[in-house]
Symmetry: C2
Subunit: 138 residues, 2 copies
DNA sequence: TCTTGACTTAGACATTGTCCAATGTAGGAT
DNA sequence: ATCCTACATTGGACAATGTCTAAGTCAAGA
């Protein structure tokens, strides 16, 4: 994700300590943190970082297409740095754990023209729900 | 939806005026109201109905499987009385309008066994996003 | 080093949803 | 028809998530 910082500088971003730690928190592969989880982890490295800055930075990364917003339940949105590889999500209904999954067919082609109602359809997301192995053992 | 009231009575529900108007508001086909929209519409018929009762009633209807909860964006959940016919959703990214859509392939079968990570997968939802004809004209 | 516009901060505010104690009532019992 | 009572409703406090603003700070080009 160090190239992310390069890309951002290329876009005219000021590279502040706050933006650096947010990028570092999102660095791990396959993480899906809420804004407040990002804030908590960022605060470990930079204790004075504010919630507003975390929200601002996440919003900017989403606009730039570097991070995806995922709303699985009606709870807090989750932020997904895996924005450059198409994938979908498998969510545990009990504990909320999210796994990235790859599917075999193109879901976009499953929507026939007459079912598009004149919309310009640009995006499709598939969310599988179930019980994870951990929760099943309980 | 009058048979809904029958089914509810069969389950031991007390048929109160509040529950009746909530059911009436949800009666129209293909509606996807937020809880507060249901409350606003219910208030037109029964001005003293409280937000708490609307939330309670919607939650109970969801538990009974009579209404589906739909979280498309990170905003308020929407309540979908079309619970007895499998369908998916097409959402306008700009105005939030939701249409019911039917797709051609079974998305559940698109998730290969090795991509299930030991989950017991029970449900799948497909959400298409785009621009509706109304918003495209602007 | 200076300057300046972009960035950050704290906290107020907004929206959505949950919870509780007090009050009301649907529907069975008499 | 009236009474009882467990279930339902109410208003408002509270919680979780997210947005906004005014004042202070700083990255980076001149
Ligand atoms: Mn992901
Ligand atoms: Mn629907
Ligand atoms: Zn789980
Ligand atoms: Zn629209």
């Amino acid at each position: 994700m160090s190239d992310l910082l390069e890309r951002l500088r290329g876009r005219g971003w000021r590279l502040t300590a706050q933006r650096r730690v947010v990028a570092e928190v999102l660095d791990g592969d396959h993480v899906h943190y809420t804004a407040d989880e990002v804030h908590a982890r960022a605060s470990e490295r930079l204790p004075e970082i504010s919630r507003a800055t975390v929200y601002n930075t996440l919003g900017e990364l989403v606009l730039l297409g570097e991070v995806l917003e995922v709303s699985t339940d009606g709870r807090a949105k989750r932020y997904d740095p895996n924005a450059h590889h198409d994938h979908h999500h498998l969510v545990c209904s009990q504990c909320g754990t999210i796994r990235d999954v790859h599917i075999e067919s193109d879901p976009m082609s499953a929507l026939p023209e007459p079912e598009r109602f004149g919309f310009e359809v640009s995006e499709v997301s598939v969310t599988f729900r179930g019980t994870c192995p951990n929760c099943a053992r309980a």
